[in-house]
């Protein structure tokens, strides 16, 4: 099982590296979204409200995640998918997709944070904890959105569906993340965010368990 997942993750990474323009496209997407925000707010450095700074960052990450993960079930051709599904078990496929998307989100989010901090100014007081919230966010977004991408890819207008299906169910994760990152931003004592982190981990666990249970049904169609 673990071997299978490892092989599938390697396959995903190789596929991604083979079409470098897709990965560069996503990085450019983050970069240009941040720049659009920067110009729209007409900022001088450190002029923005802390809360706005934080919220804007997470919304940019959310849209990046949607774009990056939406294609995780559509980029391969139908025949190849069919072949893959005869080789691997559905649980292996969903777990490897989630793991790979988490990795992808981590790369994008960290690059995004770097660019964002340089352009928009960096008011974060507890960098270590802020990075932790980004890691937690990447895991949460990736696991939820992978399953939704699987659902949306079966329908016709999958781009719209991806957004309307995932926005309402991603809200609990987003609220917890905003709270944790706000605490890190203000440099509050770390024990303050413990509750939120535990809730977030619990939600992630629910999503993982459900994905493992429900994906075999999705895969059959």
């Amino acid at each position: 099982m673990l071997k299978e997942i490892k092989a599938l993750i390697e396959k995903e990474i190789r596929l991604e590296l083979r079409q470098k323009y897709a990965l560069s496209g996503m990085i450019l997407y983050v970069f240009s979204t941040i720049y659009v925000c920067y110009l729209s707010f007409r900022l001088k450095a450190n002029e923005m409200d802390k809360i706005t700074w934080n919220t804007l960052f997470w919304i940019i990450l959310l849209f990046t995640a949607m774009n990056a993960i939406a294609k995780s079930f559509t980029q391969e051709r139908f025949g190849r998918l069919l072949y893959q599904y005869t080789l691997a078990s559905p649980v292996g496929i969903i777990l490897s997709k989630i793991a790979y998307n988490t990795l992808l989100m981590l790369v994008l989010a960290l690059i995004g944070f770097g660019v964002y901090a340089i352009i928009m100014g960096n008011p974060v007081e507890d960098i270590g904890y802020y990075l932790l919230s980004i890691v937690l966010g990447a895991v949460g977004f990736a696991s939820t959105l992978t399953m939704v991408a699987g659902i949306a890819s079966k329908a016709e207008n999958s781009a719209t569906l991806m957004a309307i299906l995932s926005f309402p169910i991603i809200i609990p994760i987003l609220i917890m993340l905003l709270k944790i990152s706000k605490n890190a931003l203000d440099g509050l004592d770390r024990s303050n965010s413990l509750d939120e982190i535990l809730t977030l981990l619990a939600i992630d666990a629910i999503v993982l368990v459900l994905s493992v249970i429900l994906f075999p049904f999705l895969w059959r169609s």
Binding site: I151, E156, M176, I206, L214, F217, S221
Partner: protein
């Protein structure tokens, strides 16, 4: 008679609620005054919505276990009536809020929860609309139904952390229980809940029968 008991129950209870809800005595309370009668119409909507949506999810689970199309029809129709109750609940609440809180919509815990819940089920309807194949529609919308509800539950736990509710009985606002020493409101409120829930199941029952007849009609042509 045996199968229709809940319809009689609904007619009798709701007749009683409409007459006694408007004529009966209610305890005097500051701010609320006569608008407290909304308790008989607004609150039961949420009980109705939750019971209908729970039955919808249960039917989705049954569909995935058995692949019997009847369960899918049931699940969709229960979700539809749940949405209807939700919309009526929001409308009655909104009108009430205009006269007691002074605004149509406030950033309240329960309002946000209701709004997100409705967003999820609107997305569910759109998802159902974007498939041509019946089997695929049934399977994938069942998966989304279960997945979304499992994430709605943490949301309802998470939301109260953002802020207190303005609703009577929450966040230091006076509720009805301590005031209602004579049980004048309770004897209307409990029948109202049961009556509205029964009405919800009645509406759904009619819709399911209509859908089944339509299907038979289509197959014969």
């Amino acid at each position: 008679m045996k199968k229709n008991w809940y319809k009689y129950l609904s007619v009798i209870f709701l007749g009683y609620v409409i007459i006694w809800g408007f004529l009966g005595h209610i305890p005097r309370q500051p701010v609320l005054h006569e608008t407290a009668r909304n308790l008989y119409f607004h609150v039961p909507m949420w009980f109705g919505m939750f019971s209908l949506l729970s039955v919808s999810v249960w039917n989705s689970v049954q569909y995935l276990r058995t692949s019997n199309m009847l369960y899918d029809t049931k699940s969709a129709e229960y979700a539809n009536s749940g949405i209807l109750f939700g919309i009526v609940g929001i409308m009655t609440g909104s009108i009430w809020a205009r006269y007691t809180w002074g605004a149509w919509w406030t950033n309240d815990v329960k309002l946000n929860g209701a709004a997100v819940g409705l967003l999820i089920y609107f997305a569910y309807i759109i998802l159902r609309g974007s498939f041509n194949d019946e089997q695929q529609k049934a399977r994938i919308s069942s998966i989304y139904n279960i997945f979304a509800v499992a994430l709605l539950i943490p949301l309802l736990i998470v939301l109260p952390r953002i802020g207190d509710s303005l609703h009577p009985g929450n966040g230091g606002n006076p509720g009805f229980k301590p005031m209602d020493t004579q049980h004048t409101m309770r004897i209307v409120f409990y029948p109202a809940c049961i009556g509205w829930i029964c009405l919800g199941f009645w509406i759904t029952n009619l819709r399911i029968r209509l859908k089944n007849l339509e299907q038979i009609h289509q197959e014969n042509n």
